[in-house]
């Protein structure tokens, strides 16, 4: 069918010079389902109604409903803009970021950092950090499952699945109390086989906003020692739970005190507003420096075949902010401002609902912590909110409080009241006080 130029083969049949497959290679490819979280924003953007509200993705908004670039970030950006970046410094900048991130998570005095026992790698935000750990887990503990809280961020399921790590779940949220089902959680921790890998949200649980108390964390930590479980923390909201960065990392510090060798994914997307820059860190605490070096080298290999290195701009921003005392102090203030606004909106939303005479108990709105509120709304109610009121949230009833503002909170409360006021069955359950 083909001719070779002056070569050994020479056929005189007609040369087919264009692709002969009329229907191409991808006829059988079916359309993938939309991501449940990012799909919400897509739908919101397509809506032309002036009253629309986006309570989908967890990105902070100010009281005008606008995205925010923190002043500390602008300051850092001005400093680094157009400075010559030497590739040979890539490793140094990355290591510096890891060191600073570890201090933020483990405490500035954390002896583990000083002892060089942290195997850390800068990662593509929280997603990337989780994925690196999932890949590490599969390589060195093939077949071991990951225990994810029920519920958890939807992408956790995707990440461990794509890393080919089997998944189990442990009980976490109690829909009746809209709080933590601690007894069930401890039960599941105890019945899991020894040495199991568990994922925890150290603060501001996504999607429920329900966190264990300090004492509950201590009990979990103790039980983890008995069972020799591996604790993996995905910390995406440090600063957003209480407004205090150290307070929000308390769970991690408790486990550290108790001598656990933990893994930790950190994201700077929310607390530094660096969403699009994809900056995060994965750290794995090891028994000694030698092991840390080995584990880090394996993480580098995993990253190399995925994207080689993470983008440098975001890393430089975070590094600049964390290394300059003034800029860092400004950042700490700005985090508190964001956390405070969210807390205020929680209080306001609850107040409005109560003022409207809602039959339901809305104390979960102020009990829950961080960017999200697990409203307890059913999928049908969520659909009504979209259809009738142009209010967008994920179908599990998760509301991003960051999307609530002084100007839309009344409209939101009215809408929620509308779809829930005849919810007699629900109110009967909720009115059974606990």
């Amino acid at each position: 069918m083909w001719r070779f130029m002056g070569g050994r083969f020479s056929r005189s049949t007609r040369c087919i010079s264009s692709s002969s497959r009329a229907f191409g290679w991808w006829e059988h490819v079916s359309p993938a389902p939309k991501d449940p979280i990012t799909g919400v924003t897509e739908a919101f953007l397509a809506d032309t109604n002036p009253n629309k509200i986006n309570l989908g993705v967890g990105a902070y908004r100010d009281d005008q409903g606008k995205p925010v670039v923190l002043q500390c970030v602008r300051n850092a950006e001005a400093k680094i803009a157009a400075c010559e970046f030497l590739e040979s410094n890539a490793a140094a900048v990355g290591s510096k970021l890891v060191e600073e991130s570890a201090k933020l998570a483990y405490g500035t005095q954390a002896h583990v950092v000083k002892e060089g026992r942290v195997a850390g790698l800068q990662a593509l935000s929280g997603t990337g950090a989780c994925r690196l750990f999932a890949e590490l887990q599969r390589r060195f503990y093939p077949g071991s499952p990951i225990y994810l809280p029920d519920p958890t961020w939807s992408n956790h399921h995707n990440i461990w699945r794509d890393a080919q790590v089997p998944e189990r779940s442990f009980r976490y949220y109690n829909p009746i109390t809209k709080g933590l089902d601690f007894a069930a959680l401890m039960d599941d921790v105890k019945t899991a086989p020894d040495g199991s890998f568990f994922l925890f949200h150290p603060c501001a649980h996504n999607p429920t906003g329900v966190d264990p108390t300090e004492e509950q964390w201590r009990e979990i930590s103790y039980q983890f020692k008995v069972k020799n479980h591996f604790p993996f923390f995905d910390m995406a909201y440090q600063g957003f739970a209480t407004g205090d960065l150290d307070m929000d990392a308390q769970a991690i510090r408790i486990f550290l005190e108790d001598g656990h060798l933990i893994g930790c994914a950190q994201s700077f997307a929310k607390n530094m507003g660096l969403y699009g820059h994809r900056v995060g860190c994965l750290s794995v605490l090891c028994a000694d420096e030698k092991q840390a070096v080995a584990v880090k080298s394996q993480l580098q290999q995993i990253a190399r075949s995925m994207y080689s290195n993470p983008p440098v701009h975001g890393i430089l921003l975070v590094s600049t902010i964390l290394n300059d005392p003034q800029t860092k102090a400004l950042w700490v203030k700005e985090v508190k401002v964001m956390a405070n606004r969210i807390q205020l909106m929680r209080a306001t939303l609850r107040e409005r609902l109560e003022d409207l005479g809602s039959p339901l108990d809305w104390e979960n709105i102020t009990n829950q912590v961080g960017m999200f509120c697990f409203s307890g709304l059913t999928p049908d109610q969520v659909d009504r909110l979209v259809r009738e009121f142009h209010i967008y949230m994920t179908r599990d009833g998760r509301i991003s409080i960051a999307g609530v503002t002084t100007s839309n909170v009344s409209y939101l409360a009215s809408a929620i009241h509308e779809v829930t006021k005849y919810d007699q069955e629900a109110s009967n359950i909720y009115n059974i006080s606990i």
Binding site: W26, V29, A59, G128, T213, K225, D258, G276
Partner: protein, 467 residues
Amino acid sequence: MRPQLTSPDAHSIASPSSPSSAISASDRRLNALVRHLVDASPAMDSQNLKDTVSASPTSGFHADSVFAHVVRAPEDPILGVTVAYNKDPSPVKLNLGVGAYRTEEGKPLVLNVVRRAEQQIVNDRARVKEYLPIVGLADFNKLSAKLILGADSPAIQENRVTTVECLSGTGSLRVGGEFLARHYHQRTIYIPQPTWGNHPKVFTIAGLSVKTYRYYDPATRGLNFQGLLEDLGSAPSGAIVLLHACAHNPTGVDPTVQQWEQIRQLMRSKALLPFFDSAYQGFASGSLDADAQSVRMFVADGGECLVAQSYAKNMGLYGERVGALSIVCKTADIASRVESQVKLVVRPMYSNPPIHGASIVATILKDRDMYNEWTIELKAMADRIISMRHQLFDALRAKGTPGDWSHIIKQIGMFTFTGLNSEQVAFMTREYHIYMTSDGRISMAGLSTRTIPHLTDAIHAAVTGVV
């Protein structure tokens, strides 16, 4: 019974069930310790504490790391060269390892037009840092497709191309590879022998099985065209074939236009799926269009293909990780479905791509002045490299170094496959502090007029001294 702790706060240790606010930090610490101490004997008293205290299984002391069995991974061979170079204290050391452009002064280069674009972005207070869509920056995607396929490409006009912003070339290859492993009927990819060291790893981990096709002929230091045609000719129908769009890495050996046409005909007749890796568009000849010829030839015949683009070299944006994966499909509907599946690969990997580098590229590509400025700066980089080739060739000839060194000026792009063997390379590193990969590949971008004599001496010594 729990032992008495002889600390000042011992009397105020609260039981585990009391409210945490009543306990001080030191109390909490002591409580934690208390839980870890074990009663060694029922008759123990505080005086014998030192002799009888032992760590319980619930303390940290016994716990070995769950990763104790993890061994140190080997250094990446290419990046490892720079690591070794950095450790060398010699003042005459030369880094000809990784393919990053250097000026005559041996310095990395931030293009002027990139600085301009970056300033514009940073000064624009209306810009935000929100998440990009999973597929990345829309402008960037459209402009990247146009750059590689040509602005007048019918495939673009017919909406048959899906372009997804990825993390440079590596990221584009990985995402493309994973998509193919999930949705393409043939899970074998043929890569040229030799190829960039990271190719086999990226594709294997993506889930494809990797085979090779003959490419480089060490005898001629040119293309083994016969071998290439034979190997692709005997590949199973539908197999994926990785093609370097131009400036083959590591050899610098590219097919001629006529040879590309033959490759295209062969591949289409066997329904082999082309996967282009375009990391040097503009760097090979200095012309962006000329360097995209091979890709455009395949797209022009109406068939399908994948293209991974990188802006690391041609825009000097190495660290920002800017690239794009384009999949050219038969119809617009199919392209849209394909895109939706690519998103499922990306989301559990890193959710969405980084914003900064793509914004810089989009800013430059959409502004006529900036675009022109870029093409001029790009040509200057390509010209400097070509000049280094000629200077090295002339110097070796002048020195009378045995052998035919014409491949230095025939090969294209950032790299020269010198033909030196690993012993010769090791010798050059040891005696002349010249760092390069052991396959004999040198990065011309790392050379300057000043350093060419040193390299010439080293090659000469290696060739005449070491077998």
